[in-house]
């Protein structure tokens, strides 16, 4: 069976706004957003360095265009689900910076009460569905969320983010096939930063990313995630098509990770040469690209930019202060929310701490 492939990449062109039907005001909002993500992640980086954040911490720096461009076109009722590199996606979906940072700090005020941490940010109110740590694990979950949308005959969509390495997981294949045969309202987004930890995508695939959905008959497209306007326009159209019953979509969003895989991983190393990282960082920063466009078109000047940036830094700092001032979870929290329903009969907990006459 044949399938659409929008092989031609959207975006990347120099001019800007009309082409994508993005107003200057909206463009400025997107810049404001991306600045927030950047400053937020830099704060997290700082906090990790001084031990306020523990465990694994995967920064999104360099990939902000993907979060802003793909999530901002969505409605609050739409769902977003992601992997462990999800801080800025949470912010984009409307989770407040304070609770996100507090979650990284492992505080009671965190989005997940401090129990989830950096990899497991959840916010039911804005339908941010996590934050999942098993590579590819969120893809079947997203398909189930899409199943619920269709089951309840809602007109929402679910956007599922994954990294380029996740497409080699069997669950990806199984989930996309089911989304296709049941025409579910899901948009599967590969944040293609070309590396899974130290493994270049080309070492684990003979084909281009856009081929990965072909056996399922899911329309696939590719967009430059460093061009937030192109990305925004692309997702605005995709969301519309999916919302109106067009079935699932697969999107290869080309981007680049400006930092190491996690805090313990050097920015550049054996697996990607310094000059590659430098070139990407200098030439393909989504924030710089949009800034220049706005400058050129005269919608923004240096003073305006600095105002926006000051605002972003302040928000990031406020988030850090909020986290700092928040308490650790109470000891009781250790045992809460293991079960949604404590059955009146029988024993559910077996660590014997206190339970038996012998403890």
């Amino acid at each position: 069976m044949a399938q659409t492939k929008i092989k031609k990449k959207a975006g990347g062109s120099a001019d800007g706004f009309e082409q994508y039907g993005v107003s200057p005001e909206l463009a400025l909002d997107l810049l404001r957003e991306m600045l927030l993500y950047r400053r937020f992640e830099e704060k997290a980086e700082e906090a990790y360095a001084i031990g306020k954040i523990g465990g694994f911490c995967h920064l999104h720096i360099g990939q902000e265009g993907v979060a802003a461009g793909s999530i901002k076109p969505l409605r609050t009722e739409d769902y977003v689900i992601s992997a462990y590199r999800e801080h800025t996606q949470a912010l984009a979906k409307g989770v407040r910076p304070g609770p996100v940072m507090a979650e990284l700090y492992g505080r009671a005020t965190g989005a997940s009460g401090g129990k989830g941490g950096s990899m497991h940010i959840f916010d039911r109110d804005v339908r941010f569905m996590g934050g999942h740590g098993i590579v590819g694990g969120q893809v079947p979950l997203a398909t189930g969320i899409a199943w619920k949308i269709k089951y309840r005959e809602e007109d929402n969509v679910v956007v599922c983010f994954m990294g380029d390495a996740a497409v080699n997981q069997g669950g990806f294949h199984e989930a996309l096939n089911m989304a296709a045969i049941w025409e579910l309202p899901a948009i599967y987004v590969v944040e293609n930063n070309h590396y899974g930890m130290g493994t270049a995508f080309r070492r684990v695939s003979l084909t281009d990313m856009i081929e990965k959905a072909s056996p399922y008959g899911i329309p696939a497209s590719s967009v430059n995630g460093q061009d937030v306007l192109a990305t925004y326009a692309h997702f605005r159209d995709l969301a519309e098509a999916v919302r109106s019953g067009g079935g699932p979509r697969f999107v290869d969003v080309e981007t680049y990770r400006f930092r190491g895989h996690s805090m313990s991983d050097p920015v550049s190393g054996t697996y990607r040469p310094k000059d590659e990282v430098d070139r990407k960082t200098h030439e393909e920063d989504p924030i710089v690209l949009l800034r220049d466009r706005l400058f050129e078109a005269g919608h923004l000047d240096q003073a305006g930019l600095e105002a926006l940036d000051t605002e972003a830094r302040a928000a990031a700092q406020a988030a850090a202060d909020f986290a700092d001032q928040s308490p650790l979870p109470d000891a009781e929290a250790l045992y809460t929310n293991v079960w949604a329903e404590i059955n009146p009969h029988g024993r559910l907990n077996f660590d014997g701490r206190g339970a038996s006459p012998w403890r």
Binding site: S112, R124, E174, H345
Partner: protein, 329 residues
């Protein structure tokens, strides 16, 4: 009261709960057009349609994860595994997603979902189709485990499991599907999770067990009675929550216990029951608690080897004699 098979009891439970709650749906291989590999879902497609009774591709990890996601979003899925042997492909979504979602989100996402299907051996299905899978599910907090042995328990416990707001691994048995028994017709006949059932009473020894082995234990108890030994046969019915009080009450009465389980005993459910008994009824025990289980080998195909591998009433009788210090040690 109506007499029906275990299969019909499960079918009735699914039907009633799907009628009662439009958020309940059934997904699995062959559950719809084929009426179920073991016909447990017979007639449900006709009654509820393809939206609520769904044939999946052979994609255990995928459709399990799909249902976990649907539960996260507010539906109440029932996942049918053709057998739990095939669920090794899907267990990541049970243990890493379903069992942890509520905790990782600190209460934001209750996960009402039932994973059901046969566990353990049938007849000559060989090594890859005969594993008793209880240990793999009961070890992890966040998953409840239910193992009905009779039609009435199957119906009452499946209804309770579907109404429960936590993930439930509901483990049936191919060899139980044709088993007949009385079942209350009451639409609200629900057996609460966590209540063991004393299937037979006796004062000399406690035979404690779950699932299919309840019937082996009852045969053993009948044999023991012939030689004047009275055995309690305590069917745990649910392995998490666990009715510890019922276990202790029986052991405090008989001072002797044997656990019978279908699968491998090494780090099996029986080991845990033994640990609880010796910890909480240490002074009541007149003998060690023994376990009767499958031979510690993959299940062989040959008829004679398979029947040797399975736990038998005779082995249970023998174990009871040991804990009663009857016959050679």
């Amino acid at each position: 009261m109506a007499v029906m098979t275990y299969r019909e009891a499960l079918n009735a439970a699914l039907r009633e709960e799907m009628q009662r709650d439009p958020e309940v749906f059934l997904m699995g291989e062959e559950v719809a057009e084929y009426d179920g590999a073991y016909k447990v879902s017979k007639g449900l497609l006709a009654q509820f349609g393809p939206r609520r009774v769904v044939d999946s591709p052979i994609s255990e990890l995928g459709f399990t994860g799909l249902c976990v996601g649907a539960s996260m979003a507010g539906l109440r899925p029932v996942v049918e595994f053709m057998t739990f042997n095939f669920a090794f492909l899907a267990i990541d979504q049970v243990i890493n997603s379903a069992a942890k979602m509520l905790y990782m989100s600190d209460g934001q996402f209750p996960m009402p979902i039932v994973f059901r299907g046969p566990t353990g051996a049938a007849l000559q299905l060989s090594a890859q189709h005969s594993i008793a899978c209880e240990t793999y599910y009961v070890h992890s907090p966040g998953v409840k485990v239910v193992t009905p042995a009779t039609p009435a328990d199957a119906k009452g416990l499946l209804k309770a499991s579907i109404r429960d707001n936590d993930p439930v691994a509901f483990m049936e048995g191919e060899l139980l599907y044709n088993f007949k028994g009385e079942v209350p017709d009451d639409q609200d006949f629900v057996i609460p999770l966590g209540v063991a059932d004393l299937k037979r009473e006796g004062s000399d020894v406690s035979i404690i067990t779950h699932g299919k082995m309840v019937h082996v234990a009852l045969q053993a108890a009948a044999k023991l009675e012939k030689v004047g030994i009275g055995a309690d046969v305590l069917d745990l019915r649910t392995l998490r929550p666990l009715d510890v009080d019922a276990i202790l009450a029986s052991v405090r009465k008989t001072n002797r216990a044997v656990y019978v389980e279908e699968g491998w005993s090494y780090v099996g459910v029986g080991a845990q029951i033994v640990a609880i008994i010796q910890e909480e009824a240490f002074d009541d025990l007149d003998a060690p608690v023994l376990r009767v289980a499958q031979a510690d080998v993959p299940m062989p195909y040959a008829k004679n080897l398979e029947s040797m591998a399975k736990p038998s009433a005779d082995r249970v009788v023998e174990a009871c004699n040991r804990v009663l210090y009857r016959g050679a040690r």
